[in-house]
Symmetry: none
Subunit: 367 residues, 2 copies
């Protein structure tokens, strides 16, 4: 993400509100390139049954049958095309989108994302730990839904908090299959009659993982099919701004009440494990300037197979090759590249210590 993106004033953007109306029209009224993440749980609503098929299926002419299906898929495809185009317009260049669906609609969604130039980063399987069983025993238990994570285009710099998700998974990198329960119990919103307020309320755990992993604090998360506002509730908890769009007043009202009650986590709790890439760059020459390593001193490769001599300008010379710690290491190993910081070691009290330790000392002093 570039600085100009985050700092651009967005007075016209209605933050932390639930907008009423059709999502395509509402999105078209928002400024372009203004949101960081879109999460969309569009309706399935294929309406293939009843209207389009005669009662006696076997007698329907095959061509007519195919035409009917084309017709109905066409309608859904055109709806998908329109809302995805509207979503793409309001997305920042380095923003991203998540969509969720089941086998009824997710193939249409994924194909249309690709057609519009979105670049798929992962498809993610939400593996439900407590799905509804298949009562008639005619198919496999439908125990998952599919999410697609895509950037605005190939080469875009999407946000991915790798280390935070790795931490969430106890130190092992997060996989594309997520085991999470469906939304039940106290989390499931009920209406005044005690019935579920929304038929497909998504669990907060799902949104927690998405928002934590693919946005930064302060980002704007938009949900064009807001429903009862899971996206807004989790965004608020995690210190992100949200924009919800929802047609039905009953859902908007339920979502408003729900989000009202949500408390933002405190600042320390929201601090996440960061990447080493974000740390300040320390040139190797600084270790020499500061006298942590003396010109002429010898460094030893990992495994002790090679050695090289430090020069006053912060380059190394080893085996008649001169260059940076990375270049000399790569050359000696015959490798395309080499991280000199972890490759080269110096001797202290007879032990081999990686030069990266000295860099860490400098970084610690800087804080």
């Amino acid at each position: 993400m570039t600085k100009s993106e985050t700092r651009k004033p967005q007075a016209a953007l209605p933050l932390n509100e639930i907008l009423a109306g059709d999502c395509i029209e509402v999105m078209n009224g928002l400024p372009e390139a203004s949101v960081d993440l879109i999460f969309a749980d569009p309706p399935y609503n294929l309406q293939l049954r009843g209207d389009l098929h005669r009662p006696d299926n076997s007698k329907v002419d095959a061509v007519d049958d195919a035409w009917d299906q084309f017709g109905s898929f066409d309608h859904y495809d055109s709806f998908t095309r329109d809302w995805l185009a509207a979503a793409k317009r309001i997305l920042k260049p380095n923003g991203a989108i998540w969509v969720i669906g089941s086998y009824h609609n997710v193939f249409r969604l994924g194909a249309e994302l690709q057609n519009q130039g979105f670049w798929i980063l992962n498809d993610v399987v939400w593996r439900k730990s407590n799905p509804m069983p298949n009562f008639r025993g005619k198919r496999l238990t439908n125990a998952h839904e599919t999410l697609i994570w895509a950037s605005k285009g190939e080469g875009a710099k999407y946000t991915f908090n790798y280390e935070a998700l790795k931490a969430l998974n106890e130190g092992i990198q997060m996989r594309s299959d997520w085991v999470l329960p469906i939304c039940t119990g106290n989390e499931r919103l009920k209406d005044d009659a005690g019935d579920k307020a929304h038929p497909t309320q998504k669990p907060e755990s799902l949104l927690h993982r998405i928002i934590l992993g693919t946005t930064n604090a302060g980002d704007v998360v938009l949900d064009p099919f807001f429903g009862t506002g899971t996206t807004g509730a989790v965004a608020k908890m995690l210190g992100r701004d949200f924009i919800g769009i929802e047609r039905e007043e009953a859902y908007r009202e339920a979502a408003r009440k729900r989000i009202e009650k949500v408390r933002k986590f405190d600042r320390e709790a929201l601090e996440i494990t960061g990447s080493k890439r974000a740390e300040p760059r320390i040139p190797f020459g600084q270790l020499v300037e500061r006298g942590m390593l003396r010109p002429g001193e010898e460094l030893y490769s990992i495994g002790n197979r090679f050695k090289a001599k430090v020069r006053a300008d912060g380059t190394l010379v080893g085996n008649d090759v001169k260059g940076s710690i990375h270049q000399v290491g790569a050359h000696l190993e015959g490798a395309p590249s080499c991280n000199g910081w972890t490759y080269w070691h110096f001797k202290r009290d007879g032990k081999m210590v990686p030069i990266d330790l000295l860099r860490q000392q400098i970084r610690a002093e800087m804080n």
Copy 2:
């Protein structure tokens, strides 16, 4: 399946052979409505850009074969349209098709299946127990592939051996997510040079589940992208007839040799699917995502000597030390290691409760 279908003589059908040539042309030469099941593992159209190296600098052996190169989505879609149409023609009215793909191509596959009037019965997720990691930490580990199971049309009477799959799953209804290892070890075919004979050989366990669950003994299973013949090998084991179609002579030859060695009802081979069940690993972060513990909440050590605060990414911070529940516990105790699950406690109704209790709740839900 009707009796007339199974008993119709099919003299023209070349059973248990591997046919050479382009799969569309070959399928068009076969009699219509003549096969019971089609399993298709078409090219994925991966669109890889450059080389990829592991952290140890070794190069990843990527799928860069000519057969996986398509110029555009249009080109890929037209290829998909043609082979699916040819496949549909030779399928019996009550036959079914399985296709497999990754996010690169599976949305095109699924959409085109629907466009041609195939009726999707389930999408199935093959969750790999040992996928290749994401070496650069830029995305989620791509740990699954997607299969689609579809009948020839809505209302068709497909074959589904519900009880057999339930038995295979230790008495519990089979779900739409299958955890199976990728094809390695002795099962992976090697060429004379000792390299893998085919870049994308599928595991027999996957085909075992498909053929056992969705065909009857004596059925004809056709695979238009036969490769090194996993479909044929498993069909033979299970007493089904197969038809393979493959363009490359080297793959056909490897498949022929392989299938030659297979014996029908080889007990040992059938037991591949019976996998050992370990207790599922539950990362601490899941307790946070699921709202069982709130970011900012305090945990207390066993004996109440220390406390630490929960962060949104499932790490703890206590005494200025950040890290996993195990790391922070070990640091505070000055111990080399610590089981954070039994060490850390939260307060409920004034009592101290170990966080392990929450993990047990999650495990109970999963069974």
